[in-house]
Amino acid sequence: MFNGIRGMRGLRGLGDLLTDIATLEASLATVTSSTTSTTAEADRIQALIDAKTNELQTKLNNLQTMLNTAKAALTAAQTRLADLQIKARALGIAV
């Protein structure tokens, strides 16, 4: 009923505006807070994944090194075997 009265219309308008602003500010704060917490959780999991990735990468590197070493040893052994086989045949040794 106040709406038709000069001044009161403005009062309600002002109140509504302030209420809207307060509501929006609260909503913004809520959404921002949720984003912050969600991002923090994502960062935490990303850190765990990064740690796991580093751990696996280290293992991979170590395995690669061991593989390379083994390959080198195999090559050396194969070279030696071939050499010995040649020598044996030259001596008339059946191998």
Binding site: M1, R6, G7, L11, A42, I49
Partner: protein, 278 residues
Amino acid sequence: MFKGLGSLGTLTSISTLRIQYVSGEGRALYTTIPIYLKIGDTVLINIYTRAGVFVTSLIGKIEKLYNPTGNDYPSILYYSRGNDGILYTSEGSSTNNYDPSILTTSGRLYQVPTTVELPTIAFYTELANQMAWISSLKQTGFTNQTIINIDNKLTTGITATSSEIDSVRTVFKNTAAISPTQIGVSIVIGISEQNGLPYPILGITVGISPTGNYLAQSGTNYYEFKSGIWQVYSTAADLEAKIADLQGKINNAKAALAAAQARLADLRAKAQALGISI
């Protein structure tokens, strides 16, 4: 809030809310317009010239009722700022033009509230040349005759009858269901510079700012009673723009939240695939 009131200067006193614009002084002193408030109501009165130019504001609290003519007149302790820049409150009187015959309160100082005390009923009667407003009043239950009677009497300085007052009071009591977080006082009285008679010019409204100060509206501007004076708070357009800005920020924030949630879901899936306990 009301920090500026801590350094009150000359203390003056009135009991009946009488307001008169005194040319050159810029202060409200006298009116016969009855304003129906109850004890404890906080009152804001803005004074405008007939041309609608803002003169000054008073703010205070109804302390007692003075009944010089059989009608209810609120006794009000108030603050105002004189041309000397000093805030005056209602206690004693020596250098102003208050009518000693209406003084009923002396030796009392308005206590600055530590919390905002809101009025429950605000009443404002506007006079002639405000037919649109009168028309709207009629929609709320006033009769045209009531308005005319009151207008005529107010214009001529004659007090409205009790029945007229009651009819007005009833309307406002019945329409007082306004959220206390929104309502302040909405009284504006201007005084004719031509004949010195009461001449309400403009309705003004009061709310509470986010910082707890009084807010008043005049036209499309809002004013905040801050540090003892009225200062421009914002315009309606500013507030609308702020709302639009907030809505935009919320939309952006929601988008950011959605992205963060998607990222989180993706990382959780990856972590699960890696056998990571989260």
